[in-house]
Amino acid sequence: MIETRNTTLKICAALSFVLCCTSCGGIHNALNPTGPQAQNLSRLWWLFFIVCSVVFVLVMIALLLSLRNRTGEPQVATAPVIEPPAEQERKRRNVVISAVTITVIILFVFLIASYSAGRSMTAELEHKNGLNIELTGHQWWWEVRYDDVDASNIFTTANEIHIPVGVPVTFSLKAADVIHSFWVPNLAGKKDLIPGKINTIWLQADKPGVYRGQCAEYCGLQHARMALWIVAEPQEQFNAWRQNQTQTSVTPASDSQKRGQQVFLTSTCVMCHAINGTPAGSNIGPNLTHVASRNMIAAATVVNTREHLAQWIIDSQQYKPGNKMPQNNLSDADLQSLVEYLQSLK
């Protein structure tokens, strides 16, 4: 009995240790801030956490001391005390007054810290003109449109957002169906995407890397599998990526790829997806012009491999039950060509 209890304790200790370790790093972690926005939030969090912990410990110590210094059993049947001892009463009043004063001061410190953090996160919004991205939430994926003064540089992609390191990026947040919420813990706080309204948020990544984002407002069946990646990279790398994204899709090279394109254009695909440079121009599903350049498919649900892509086309419901992509009955040869074509769309 005792042995099992010991083992359980050990497992619990080991588990909490592992959890503590993972909480210090990671690509989906508000305590691992890599941008000014997230740093603001994390500073605020540590301030609240430390002050509240200290207050809690002090209150507990005071409680324990007062329990220990009890003066015997309460006397019930004696005559009531009419006048408490003046000296003791003054002492107690001083304790209460100083405790209340300290509490009020702490609350004011919190108020000021929280207000100034909030201000610094929104105040510079108008001046941050580095890069403008329009982010639209769909059930259950993210449409990403890079704005530009030059219309030929505007392009649309999905679920994977590349940003240059050290440059503030402004997001205009929209929703196509229900309320979603944009949340990349390492870079910024949450902001809702609301149908019929445009919200704005800016963020900046100080270190290159991949950061995970997640829808943070329950939006239906596949809310949990509505994730995105933010890829922060040096400016030259970002420019090269951007240059490639503004191009129309590559023309199919092999016979198989040509057949794949025909399959795409003559089947159900074309009703919802767009591939720039072909007649496919619908905007219901993700834009597939450069689908092969993305690392994940289905809103960061599975890795973009040949097998996953084929399985997703035939029966996407096995990965994300309830998603809006229908099942497709394609022959083996058609499916092979289609996947080959999609994989050529770098």
């Binding site: 169906d177 089947s267 159900t268 009703m271 219901i284 229908p326 099942q327 497709n328």
Partner: protein, 139 residues
């Protein structure tokens, strides 16, 4: 056993569209009606480039199988064929929705509200029209 029955031949069994019984399907049909750009010609059911769908007139019949073949086969004077472009179950959802536009479905199945522009009453509040045959409008 024999298929031959005494007396006059009975009425043919009407084709049942399973989506007619499901509120989810009619709502999906409503979403697809906009997304597949049916509204590009039929507008919000009032018609424009294509004939209206919310009235009592039916050029090619008001039964589910008629509407199904209109979508899949296409019709003369502009209605394109969506064969292989729309999966079967989605066509059924569209058929159910088209029927709900003139109040042919039960009230608890028809869509209850419009998602965006309130161009007309919701299908649930649409009075049931009595279908009648009509010829195509003169070109």
């Amino acid at each position: 056993m024999s298929d031959i029955h005494p007396g006059s031949p009975g009425m043919p069994q009407p084709v049942q569209n399973p989506s007619d019984q499901r509120a989810f399907d009619t709502n999906e049909g409503k979403r697809l009606f906009t997304q597949y750009n049916c509204s590009g010609c039929h507008f919000n059911g009032g018609g424009g480039i294509g004939p209206p769908l919310m009235d009592e007139k039916w050029i090619y019949g008001e039964n589910p199988e008629n509407i199904y073949s209109t979508i899949v086969e296409g019709r003369p004077n502009g209605m394109p064929s969506f064969r292989q472009k729309i999966p079967d179950n989605q066509v059924q959802q569209l058929v159910a929705y088209v029927r709900s536009m003139s109040g042919q479905l039960r009230k608890d199945v028809a869509p209850t509200r419009n998602d965006s522009m309130n161009a007309r009453r919701s299908e649930q509040r649409t009075e049931r029209e009595t279908p009648r045959r009509s010829s195509p409008p003169p070109q």
